[in-house]
Amino acid sequence: MFKYTVKRILQLIPVLLGVSIIVFLIMRVFSPDPAGVVLGQHATPDAMQAWRQENGLNDPIWLQYWNFLIDALRGDLGTSYYTHSPVTQEIASRFPATVELAICAIILASVFGVLLGVISSVKKNSLADHASMILALIGVSMPIFWSGMLMIILFSGTWHLLPSSGRIDPMLQPVGGTGLYLIDTLFSGDFEAFGNALQHLILPTVALSLYSMAIITRMTRSSMLETLDQDYIRTAEAKGLTRGRVVQHHALRNAMIPVTTVIGLQFGSLLGGAVLTETVFAWPGIGKYTVECILKSDFPVVQGVVLLIAVIFVLLNLVVDIIYAFLDPRIKYAKKEG
């Protein structure tokens, strides 16, 4: 087990190297030159040339990459072309927002997804089953930015129930702490701020979780159906156990194994979905910020963010695999690869 984990972590290295090379190529070789935008409406060719020289953009690409790599290994991801702030700082100030949103969304999606999935599998072909399956299908078919904007129209624009943008009223903003406002405000006992942060979270969380919720519902249902069809379940039922007990004690546990994997993988895809959700709800996370930086050719920031996301993604996959192995002892580590 330990050996397996170490091996997987070592495999991270080539993946991260590859990710950084790809991002480097896309950004530095093919993307538009940032000098004109960084220097604004008075940019002269001379000034742009001087700026490129100062930022090493005139160096051969391999040298640029080498310098980036050496700095990155020392924990220095460079400074943003646009704001002059260190990339690590730019990311750190936005990352908690994305983490908070993604965690809330995955919790919402898992709770409702599993619930709906179990109900529809137990009451197969009932009205409830059809309703949740249709809901799930619509959930995976709606563009996230469309459902998000519809929610803004209804809940903020028409009924004035919930705020449509931002994380919290700036005057209630917790200073310091984890950056996850729900936790910070709870720990400091500031319930007014907690309520305010919660209100801001509702719409983006729902919008972001719809897709994952749909996937988890479908996965739970099919996995449950498969499990309920197994001999030992039938035996249990034949022994006279009630349906509820069978589901609770026998089927659910086994059906959860593949569902766990899906939940883990969905957390990764939520990070992608966050790009669009954050844009629609003006959520100050790294997703929206990365898109802005890609469009402004802020190379150091894009490189840093994509590396960070790749690390998270790979680690999540590793954690999912380890959990999976725990849940299902049939898996042998040696054969699990690729």
Binding site: V23, P32, S141, P143, W146, L150, S222, G268, T290, A310
Partner: protein, 302 residues
């Protein structure tokens, strides 16, 4: 020796026939799936709309590109059933024409990822060893960057345009196909008939194409159908972010993106193109589900 060879050939012809019967049984069971048949009908209608509006643009109630500023931002009415946009163009006509872009980008992008993904996956799975490790590590690399970010970066680098959107969307989903094909191939590779073909000295390419690929078609077909729906969604997302097609082309996501600032005042500009996307994606998802059920004997029972 000779005899043995003929018998081997006979065996492989048998296998070649298998996919055909597979198609038939698939169709039979698909026919019983009401949702899948409805979705098939919807897709046929979408294709019909796309083809007709491309060949006979005159059939449309309005020219989707004809601007009339005096008719701008009109709410839906009998004259314009989905209203008009900020340039006074009929939204319904633009949505109809938009099927051309969504379907063609969806198909073309899936073709790109399918072809490259299948080839890479087949090589990796069949050859194994170092080649496998290199290819799959590369796929891991691509998978660990959220595909939407990768597509955005591609588009920002390549510039706007349908062709570029196709490439960007096609490239980012290669790993999914490669993974599916590889794992399927790993499971068929050790089958007797493949071993047999190898023993008699068939070339690798021939073995892959004649013996192995036909057996993994079903899962690829399912994946490709679902792939079209995600390609349609990705196209819309790029359009929404202002990175999709060149103006004045009518693309659903682009229409949504332009309506963004006006959703409170003119919600219909948002609702109709969004519905078009949802219906299209829903249809391909339903069909994909139907195909999976039809191809998977286990779930057919359910």
């Amino acid at each position: 020796m000779k005899k043995r060879r003929t018998s081997e050939t006979a065996a492989s012809t048998e296998i070649l026939e298998k996919p055909e019967s597979l198609w038939r049984s698939m169709w039979d069971s698909l026919k019983e799936n009401r949702a899948a048949m409805i979705s098939l009908f919807v897709i046929a209608a979408l294709v019909l709309i796309a083809v007709t509006t491309a060949i006979f643009p005159k059939i449309l109630p309005y020219d989707p590109y004809d601007q009339d500023l005096s008719q701008a931002k009109l709410w839906p009415s009998p004259a314009h059933i989905c209203g008009t946009d900020q340039n006074g163009r009929d939204i319904f006509a633009r949505i109809l024409v938009g099927t051309q872009i969504s379907l063609s980008v969806g198909l073309a992008a899936v073709t790109i990822s399918l072809v490259i993904g299948v080839v890479l996956g087949a090589i990796a799975g069949y050859r194994g060893g170092k080649i496998d490790a290199v290819i799959m590590r590369f796929m891991d690399i691509m998978l660990s960057i959220p595909s939407i970010l990768l597509a955005i970066a591609f588009m920002a680098a390549l510039g706007k345009g349908i062709d570029k959107a196709v490439i960007a969307i096609g490239l980012v989903s290669i790993p999914e196909y490669a993974r599916i094909v590889r794992s399927q191939i790993l499971s068929v590779k050790e089958n007797d008939y493949v071993q047999a073909a190898r023993v008699i000295g068939d070339k690798d390419g021939r073995i892959i194409f004649r013996h192995i690929l036909p057996n993994v078609t079903s899962s690829i077909v399912v994946r490709a159908t679902l792939g079209i729906s995600s390609a349609v969604l990705d196209t819309a997302a790029l359009g929404f972010l202002g990175l999709g097609v060149q103006p004045p082309l009518a693309e659903w996501g682009d229409m949504l993106g332009r309506a963004r600032g006006m959703i409170l005042q003119f919600p219909y500009m948002l609702i109709f193109p969004g519905l078009a996307i949802t219906i299209t994606v829903l249809a391909f998802n339903l069909l994909g589900d139907g195909l999976r059920d039809a191809l998977d004997p286990k779930s057919r029972k359910n």
